[in-house]
């Protein structure tokens, strides 16, 4: 079900699966957009290519997930990606943070892709079979992102700036595991085979940190957005919203 409020596409979460799809897709779209901001600016040409490709992948993955939401009655992928008001986005707060420097970018890339791998592994077993299929497809592609990040983490292992950046990123990573809206229903029905809290525990084991038993609730999954999102939102959606109905 959808309705328009002052030109925005509002998505009513009549189907709890929409909460999950939008959270996943909004994460991919936001991190993809942030990665794309390195195009033309990365420190070396090969990384300009790499981050542009990774950005393209993430936005392509978001498109697939928005497509599933559209199949459940939400607006089309373009309208979902660019046509909602900021409070309707459900991305984790870590995804909307600005790129900062190369160290922060690499640390976040590494941590985000580990978190994504953990949740995609779980979603492969979803009772929502179309999402299970998509998770399987995405995970095979995300392997290259993981390897890329690992290569950089090894290369810069002894760099103090990277270690500091990892500390900052790990303090924000919990936002990826805040409970999704309607999560209880999603877990009961098997759409989410593993709850966010348990995914968070798996994540902590894999990164070797102890971030407590409950992820910090920054509100990203409930639509609480920061000023960083507002600035990204203008850049990402301005063209689409400025030319309603245009085709490219």
């Amino acid at each position: 079900m959808r309705r328009c409020v002052r030109g925005f596409n509002v998505v009513e979460l009549s189907d709890p699966r929409l909460s999950l799809l939008l959270a996943l897709a909004d994460d991919e779209l936001s991190i993809g957009h942030r990665h794309s901001e390195w195009t033309g600016w990365a420190p070396v040409l090969e990384e300009d290519l790499a981050f542009s490709s990774i950005a393209q992948d993430e936005i392509g993955h978001a498109t697939l997930l928005y497509g599933l939401a559209h199949d459940l009655g939400a607006p089309d992928p373009d309208a979902l990606a660019f046509g909602r008001k900021p409070s309707e986005y459900r991305c984790a707060s870590i995804c909307e943070q600005p790129n900062g420097d190369w160290a922060y970018t690499l640390a976040r890339h590494h941590v985000y892709d580990i978190a994504d791998d953990i949740r995609l592994q779980a979603l492969e077993r979803s009772s929502y079979s179309q999402l299970g299929d998509v998770a399987r497809v995405l995970r095979v592609e995300e392997v290259f992102h993981l390897r890329h990040a690992e290569l950089w983490m090894k290369r810069l292992d002894s760099e103090p700036r990277l270690r500091d950046a990892m500390t900052t990123v790990l303090s924000q990573a919990g936002s990826l595991f805040e409970p999704i809206e309607n999560e209880a229903q999603l877990v009961d029905s098997g759409v989410m085979p593993v709850a966010s809290g348990e995914l968070f525990e798996q994540f902590q084991k894999r990164v070797g940190g102890d971030m407590g038993s409950v992820p910090v609730d920054g509100g990203g999954r409930r639509g609480l957005r920061s000023e960083h999102f507002e600035e990204m939102y203008e850049d990402m959606t301005g063209l689409y919203r400025g030319h309603a109905g245009a085709s490219w």
Binding site: R125, V134, V140, E141, F144
Partner: protein
């Protein structure tokens, strides 16, 4: 539902002429992109597996395949779409595809396509297209690309296939 094998072979021959726009020496059949062909009820329905979900070549492939089938079967309705029923993986490449890739200087193994040296240096997992990684050969000192190996991943420990609908396996026309 009846499947006309003669028509199916015609569909495959038609699609053998649809090349990857970024790697024009290989066809979408060589790449193992065909998931299913249905020729029942005077309609040609083809499902393709995208090599990489976000690759911009995939939309061009979709329209090229549709146009080719429309030209070959003007009297029938044609529908070509992408399926995500399973990931596309490099083990679907047809025999002989790696020789074709070498013509463009792309290696499908870890060996340098120019001198055969197997111990190359990885520059980046990401090359000029989503499907290729960038390498440097210390022996002949050429930069070259490898068609990245992309394989199905093992399911997470403790998972079962119970509850998964049975999937139509992709057509096995790729391994000649």
């Amino acid at each position: 539902m009846s499947q006309d094998l003669f028509t199916e072979r015609r569909v495959i021959s038609t699609l053998e002429k649809v090349q990857d726009p970024e790697i024009p020496v290989v066809s979408i059949v060589d790449l193992g992109m065909i998931h299913s062909i249905n020729t029942a009820h005077d309609k040609i329905t083809v499902e393709l597996l995208p090599t990489y979900v976000a690759c911009p070549a995939t939309n061009i492939i979709l329209s090229d395949a549709t146009a080719a089938l429309n030209a070959e079967f003007p009297e029938r309705e044609v529908e070509v779409s992408f399926s995500f029923a399973q990931p596309w993986t490099t083990d679907r490449l047809a025999k002989g595809a790696d020789e074709k890739l070498k013509e463009l200087g792309i290696s499908a193994s870890s060996a340098c396509p120019f001198c055969g040296e197997t111990d190359s240096e990885l520059i980046s997992e990401f090359g000029p297209t989503p499907c290729r990684s960038a390498h440097f050969c210390p022996k002949c000192r050429n930069a070259f690309e490898i068609f990245k190996t992309k394989l199905r991943l093992a399911p997470a420990p403790g998972s079962t296939n119970g509850g998964q609908r049975s999937k139509q396996e992709s057509l096995d026309i790729h391994r000649k």
